[in-house]
């Protein structure tokens, strides 16, 4: 299971890559493997607000609908429009071209309670 060291994680299997006041968000390798072939991603609207631990969208495979949970609160400044025509990028490159959205972070303090790569790996092992 790929768990990059430069990211932080949620128990719901989202990852977040912080870059100053901005952050890019996606779902993990573990999550996409559980889901199977992703065929549809419902992303939040540009300029909308997402709130930490609340749902912000949906990822669908043929057999499952999975809620996306916001790892942090912020304003949506970009969404990955490639996923509209190539949702399978979430499976093939969950940490790269399969990114889902980018936000302007509202409260950097929230980031402290995210899971480290080690803690996230542990959690995945327990779930298997």
């Amino acid at each position: 299971m790929e768990v990059p060291k430069d990211l932080r994680y949620t128990i719901e299997h989202e990852w977040i890559r912080v870059n100053g006041s901005k952050a890019v968000i996606g779902i993990t390798h573990f999550a996409q493997d559980q889901l199977g072939d992703v065929v549809f991603v419902e992303m939040p609207a540009l300029d909308s607000q997402i709130t930490r631990e609340k749902t912000m969208g949906v990822v669908e495979s043929v057999k499952t609908v999975s809620d996306l949970y916001a790892p942090a609160t912020g304003k949506v400044i970009a969404v990955n429009t490639d996923l509209e025509t190539q949702p399978e990028l979430v499976n093939s490159e969950p940490y790269g071209k399969g990114w889902i959205l980018e936000i302007e972070i509202s409260d950097p303090k929230e980031l402290e309670s995210l899971l480290t790569p080690e803690k996230y790996s542990e959690q995945c092992e327990q779930e298997q």
């Binding site: 199977g36 072939d37 065929v39 549809f40 419902e42 949906v58 495979s61 043929v62 057999k63 609908v65």
Partner: protein, 375 residues
């Protein structure tokens, strides 16, 4: 096949192979079955473009023999057994007195006095009890042969080329909806030209205690055709692209075959069969609802139970729904009243808090690859 206690899942003869191949196994109709191996989309396209192999040993089989076999079957099924010749196969439904569906099934005729049935896994026990009950007053023997029977499906345009390599009889002259007895690899089989995918292909029935090596041999022989093992998830996307009904979703005890678009297997001119009067009455009164194909016109995935609207009014809910890998669109089936059943009618499907544009389509959603269609 191993019969576990009722609280445990049953497994087919190919269970260990599925595990070794890394299949995701899930409970289905009381069986631990492979839902996917490498991925639904990949598996689906493999069947559409080449050849795939399915373990369908969870399906039920019943042997019916004796002087009054034909008479019994004529009573049980809506289609006409009279026309059957030796080694032909008939798709039909069995109905209750009120016209609701007991199951859809395939009837195979060995001879006038000897048939075998293939029924849905979920209905295997129910169907056997139903048939046995009706058969009580007939001079026949009915046996449930599911436990001894393993079943494989090989589907895709390369099926014949592949299976011929291992088969001791000619498949070139095995016509659609007919079967032959054959030796395939080391296994005595019944091989039928049937399937649930819309592609050319075969279903093999063989002794379950000897079956495991056959699956591996077909996989090995199929390497030059890029064969893949195919799970139940792709089995569902394949059949739904064809608009084939699935019992439990599209046909149930509460739906009639006429409403489900299966009028072509209901021969109301037959003398008598269970449900004939009710179905006749339905036909005379005019159908109150019809099963139609629904295709999304916007991006999305359809699923069973999603509500369907016409001009803002609820008109039904999907009985089946999925994402079509061939079309890259959501597709489904839904019962609607006749005024909304015209091909091209614009509807919307409620997906979470959105109304997504859709239209009525006459299945198949994708042109079938199989040489002859039946309906």
């Amino acid at each position: 096949m191993s019969q576990e206690s009722s609280t445990e899942l049953k497994t087919t003869p190919f269970y260990n192979i599925h595990k070794e191949l890394g299949a995701k196994l899930v409970p289905f109709a009381g069986w631990d079955m492979p839902i996917q191996y490498k991925g639904v989309i990949q598996e689906h396209l493999c069947v559409r473009n080449g050849v795939g192999i399915f373990d369908v040993s969870h399906m039920g089989e019943m042997d019916i023999r004796g002087k009054e076999s034909k008479k019994l079957l004529q009573k049980l099924v809506t289609n006409d057994i009279e026309k059957m010749l030796d080694h032909s196969i008939l798709y039909t439904v069995m109905c209750y007195e009120d016209g609701g569906v007991v199951d859809d099934l395939l009837v195979h005729r060995f001879s006038e006095d000897h048939y075998f049935l293939c029924v849905n896994a979920a209905n295997s026990d129910k169907d056997f009890q139903w048939v046995r009950k009706i058969a009580a007053t007939y001079d026949v023997t009915v046996s449930d042969t599911s436990a001894e029977t393993a079943q494989l499906a090989i589907q895709g345009k390369d099926s014949e080329q592949l299976v011929q390599r291992l088969c001791d009889v000619s498949l070139n002259d095995l016509r659609y909806y007919h079967f032959k007895k054959a030796k395939i690899y080391k296994n005595d089989c019944i091989i039928s030209r049937t399937g649930y995918t819309g592609e050319d292909g075969f279903e093999l029935y063989t002794d379950s205690s000897l079956a495991e090596p056959l699956f591996l041999k077909i996989l090995e022989e199929g390497k030059s055709f890029n064969i893949q093992p195919i799970g139940l998830a792709a089995r569902d996307t394949l059949r739904l692209e064809m608009g084939y009904a699935l019992y439990g979703n599209d046909i149930t005890a509460k739906t009639s075959p006429l409403e489900a678009g299966l009028g072509w297997v209901v021969k109301l001119q037959k003398d008598h069969f269970i449900g004939k009067e009710s179905l006749n009455n339905q036909k005379e009164a005019g159908l109150k609802r019809k099963l139609v194909g629904i295709k999304l016109l916007q991006r999305g995935v359809l699923r069973p139970h999603y509500p369907v609207f016409a001009e803002g009014q609820l008109v039904g809910e999907l009985t089946s729904g999925t994402f079509s890998p061939s079309l890259n669109m959501g597709i489904g089936l839904c019962y609607v009243s006749p005024e909304h059943s015209q091909v091209g009618s614009r509807l919307t499907v409620g997906i979470r808090n959105q109304q997504v544009l859709a239209e009525v389509v006459k299945p198949p959603f994708v042109p079938p690859g199989v040489k002859h269609s039946l309906g």
